[in-house]
């Protein structure tokens, strides 16, 4: 085990807005609005059934699941799981590398 990180914190929209504010010369308010716009745009595309591929980050995919039989793990009772659409995230190799401490990873998508 690598050295344990100091108390893991939770990053929120406000932190993303701060990152945008630091990097681009926009006001804090506008930075926050743009974070919202980006997330909303990605969501809308997925809800419309298309995938979103963000190079060097990863892909958000929509999958259609057909009905299957599930089981209540507590009671063992079988229940049907209705067909549904789910969203999955497939991290890019670059992100996988960075999460494991690679400083530069240039494997293309």
């Amino acid at each position: 085990m690598a050295k344990a990180p100091q108390v893991a914190k939770t990053v929120t929209r406000a932190d993303l807005a701060e990152a945008v504010y630091q990097r681009v010369g926009l006001s804090r308010t506008e930075s926050a609005e743009l974070v919202e716009t980006v997330l909303a745009e990605i969501s809308d595309v997925l809800v419309n059934g298309a995938n979103v591929k963000l190079s060097s980050f990863g892909s958000f995919l929509v999958r259609s699941k057909s009905e299957r039989i599930g089981r209540n793990p507590k009671t063992g009772v079988e229940v049907p799981i209705t067909p549904r659409r789910v969203m999955v995230f497939k991290p890019s190799n670059i992100m996988k590398g960075r999460v494991n401490g690679d400083v530069v990873a240039d494997e293309a998508e």
Partner: protein, 98 residues
């Protein structure tokens, strides 16, 4: 949709921004999410979903081609869980549970 198309779409809706700025904005957001995960932090975006890094222990693997044993080191794997609002929106606004 790919990143450049996302940038274009957002630039169209924000005519006061240069496309280059929008590109920086998108990259700042994605970069911050990745940095957070590499620090071991969690990223929680209400309504959208949450990113975290799950720890996988070292294990004895096998090369599927040759069958020889290989050591697989412990590693962290990025993980995403869609938020409740996203799950509902994907299913015509119906809450089907997790």
């Amino acid at each position: 949709m790919i990143k450049s198309e996302l940038v274009l779409k957002i630039a169209e809706r924000n005519p006061h921004l240069y496309q280059r700025d929008v590109e920086n904005i998108v990259n700042a957001i994605l970069g911050e999410i990745t940095s957070a995960l590499s620090r071991g932090d969690r990223v929680e975006l209400r309504g959208f979903g949450a990113f975290s890094a799950k720890q996988r222990r070292a294990r004895q693997g096998r090369n599927p081609r040759t069958g020889s044993q290989v050591k697989v080191d412990e590693k962290a794997v990025p993980f995403f869980k869609a938020g409740k609002e996203m799950r509902m929106r994907l299913n015509n606004g119906i809450d089907l549970g997790e």
